[in-house]
């Protein structure tokens, strides 16, 4: 019930953004286009889903966009080397999970601060991709590319979008319906108390990073397929968009608070905002400023609402 109240704000904002977009540009109210344009945010969405778990667990993962790029590059190379899609895809996912596992172990076993660990792996993973690929980029064979021109059979919904929705549903189940999910909240709230209550804290922490890596790997496959090529410098800075979405969605950066629904609503919000401003030819710098301001304002509003609804206002 508290959760619902927390998602109220993003929901309202989404509606506002939608109306705003419709007013700002005559080209906005075209649902097919909205669907297509939104599917450009699928990779960000997948990263944001993983990031939601990580942040609720009281950690942060800055390495996701690098993981994305590395997985995309390696899978592309494998496909070029003649691997079948059926083989390369699971391999890519496994690789993503593995990269996440490295983060997870460094954070949970060696007790290193996730901010710095993932800051380092952010450089290391992309660096690895660069070493492997050098300057050139690798083509994705036609069989695996062009995912966003494909649509969910019988619907106008682009395939990537439906993938994101599915992933969100699964993540939601994990977070809100399983014991692991409850543990994630517990560890994010008070790791020591969780430990005393028999929660396998380091396993939980590791898990969230693994999931984050897995989803990042998945995002890598989607992006590679959409672009038809993979390259070490793709998706730079996407981690910031992901974090933005998670926090806009009402998650507490201090852990213990947040939800999948909130994150997805926030993502939709950002998408509509960007699309609307883009169609209205709002310059990049104004878009930057606008999204930044939105983030700050939404958090202020949340705080205010909570303070007056007797919830916890203190950050």
């Amino acid at each position: 019930m508290i959760l619902q109240r927390r998602e109220a704000i993003p929901t309202i904002l989404v509606v506002v953004a939608f109306i705003g977009g419709a007013i700002a540009s005559p080209y906005f109210l075209d649902f097919r286009y909205l669907l297509d344009a939104s599917s450009l945010y699928v990779e960000t969405g997948l990263l944001a889903l993983g990031m939601t778990l990580v942040i609720i667990c009281g950690q942060i993962d800055l390495s996701v966009s690098s993981t994305l790029a590395l997985v995309a590059c390696i899978v592309a190379k494998l496909l070029a080397a003649g691997w079948s899609a059926g083989l390369a895809t699971p391999f890519g996912l496994a690789l993503g999970a593995l990269l996440g596992l490295v983060n997870g172990l460094l954070v949970s076993k060696l007790r290193l601060p996730s901010f710095v660990v993932t800051l380092a792996t952010m450089a290391a993973y992309r660096g690895l991709a660069q070493v492997m690929m050098g300057a050139q980029s690798v083509r994705i064979p036609a069989s695996m590319s062009g995912i966003d021109s494909a649509r969910l059979p019988g619907t106008p919904i682009p395939l990537p979008l439906s993938i994101l929705i599915l992933a969100a549903a699964l993540t939601g189940l994990l977070l809100h319906r399983t014991v692991m999910g409850r543990w994630i909240y517990a560890v994010g709230t008070n790791e020591r108390a969780a430990l005393f209550s028999g929660v396998p804290t380091s396993r939980v922490t590791t898990t969230v990073f693994v999931v984050s890596g897995l989803l990042a790997g998945f995002a890598g496959l989607v992006l590679a397929s959409r672009l038809g090529v993979a390259r070490f410098d793709h998706a730079r800075g996407m981690e910031v968009d992901a974090i933005t979405a998670v926090v806009l969605g009402g998650a507490s950066i201090y852990g213990g608070r947040g939800s999948v629904l909130g994150t997805m609503l926030a993502l939709l919000l950002v998408a509509f905002l960007r699309i609307g401003m883009g169609l209205a030819n709002v310059t990049a710098e104004f878009q930057l400023a606008a999204v930044g301001a939105l983030l700050v304002i939404s958090v202020i509003v949340t705080n205010v609402v909570e303070r007056y609804s007797g919830g916890r206002g203190d950050p």
């Binding site: 344009a37 300057a135 410098d233 800075g237």
Partner: protein, 335 residues
């Protein structure tokens, strides 16, 4: 030839803007805040005014490979007639550009082409003859150093298509016996980031004490290097000069180097007229869109202001020509 000459004549007759609805052109530079593309945009504006086209420009905040994709999609949705773009990636844009062309939008790459993916655009307008840039940079350095001594190249990123193309040509050009006494001793990358360019340039001076020359075919690299060379005082007439001194040259807009030309740190450097690229792109777009012009290799394209230009082998028009700047003329330019 004739067919296209007629086209040229018609432009010369100046009856560009067709009656009825205005031609809608958008230009998408690599990123905002890049002085070089400011100048290109100026060319776009003037030409668009001449033919009464409706011109807009919009760019991503960063030159990240995929950052132009949403913008292109938006422009497709806005139903523009011509998309001119300085591509941030030689291949990541293929799908979305195909989508645009499928909708009958003319796609012209400006300054940065889709190297190896030329089939995904209608035509390109490039800064200068790539065959010419490399050699003339080497020649310029040769003139400055008396055709002798070690020299190094400070480029942008390892994967910048233009840079790599030019560097390849420089290496070729050196085969000419005339340059036999010039030795390319190092090739480094500053990622077009001030800090890194500065650091690698300093490293060059450390590694090669007797270095005679540095070619930096990118304005960030050149500006950063100029600062380094001035500090080290190794330029001809500098207070730590070794032998004849180090000659720094490369490609940059005049404004960014005026100070260093005037205080002698840089003797001479080059650039083409970015303005022309924008100017050409507009007319080219109009001709293809309104008159169904089919660019063909070896054919000529003519504009009243810039005269005739030939489509080279990959359907490129050349903004060119290369202009050399030094004390005598640098103050005359302001871009």
């Amino acid at each position: 030839l004739a067919g296209c000459n007629r086209g040229g004549d018609r432009v010369a007759e100046g009856e560009g803007g067709s009656a009825g609805k205005k031609l809608r052109i958008v230009y998408i530079p690599k990123n905002t805040g890049n002085p070089y593309f400011e100048e290109v945009t100026k060319g776009f504006r003037d030409a668009a005014n001449e033919i009464h086209a409706d011109f807009t420009t919009t760019a991503p905040a960063t030159a990240e490979a995929t950052s132009q994709i949403p913008i292109i999609k938006e422009q497709i949705q806005r139903g523009v007639d011509v998309i001119a773009i300085s591509a941030n990636s030689p291949d990541a844009l293929n799908p979305v550009l195909d989508e645009a062309r499928a909708k009958g939008i003319v796609v012209i790459t400006v300054d940065a082409d889709l190297v190896g993916n030329e089939s995904h655009r209608d035509a390109a307008v490039l800064p200068a003859d790539f065959g010419e840039i490399g050699p003339s940079q080497v020649e310029l350095l040769g003139k400055l150093t008396g055709y002798e001594g070690d020299f190094a190249i400070l480029s942008a990123t390892t994967d910048a298509p233009n840079q790599n193309a030019w560097i390849a040509k420089m290496k070729e050009a050196r085969k000419d016996p005339k340059y036999s006494k010039m030795h390319l001793v190092d090739l480094v990358y500053g990622d077009d980031a001030p800090q890194k360019s500065t650091t690698v340039c300093e490293a060059l001076l450390t590694k090669h004490p007797g270095l005679r020359g540095i070619i930096s075919p990118t304005s960030v690299g050149l500006a950063a290097s100029a600062q380094v060379v001035e500090r080290a005082g190794v330029y001809p007439g500098g207070d730590h000069v070794v032998g004849k001194g180090l000659q720094l040259t490369g490609l940059s807009t005049p404004n960014q180097l005026k100070k260093f030309v005037n205080n002698g740190v840089v003797t001479a450097f080059q650039l083409w007229a970015p303005y022309n690229e924008g100017y050409l792109a507009v007319y080219l777009g109009q001709r293809i869109h309104e008159d169904g012009l089919k660019p063909a290799v070896g054919f000529f394209f003519e504009t009243a202001k810039l005269g005739k230009r030939k489509f080279s082998n990959k359907l490129e028009l050349i903004g060119g020509p290369l202009q050399t700047f030094d004390k005598s003329n640098v103050e005359k330019f302001s871009f």
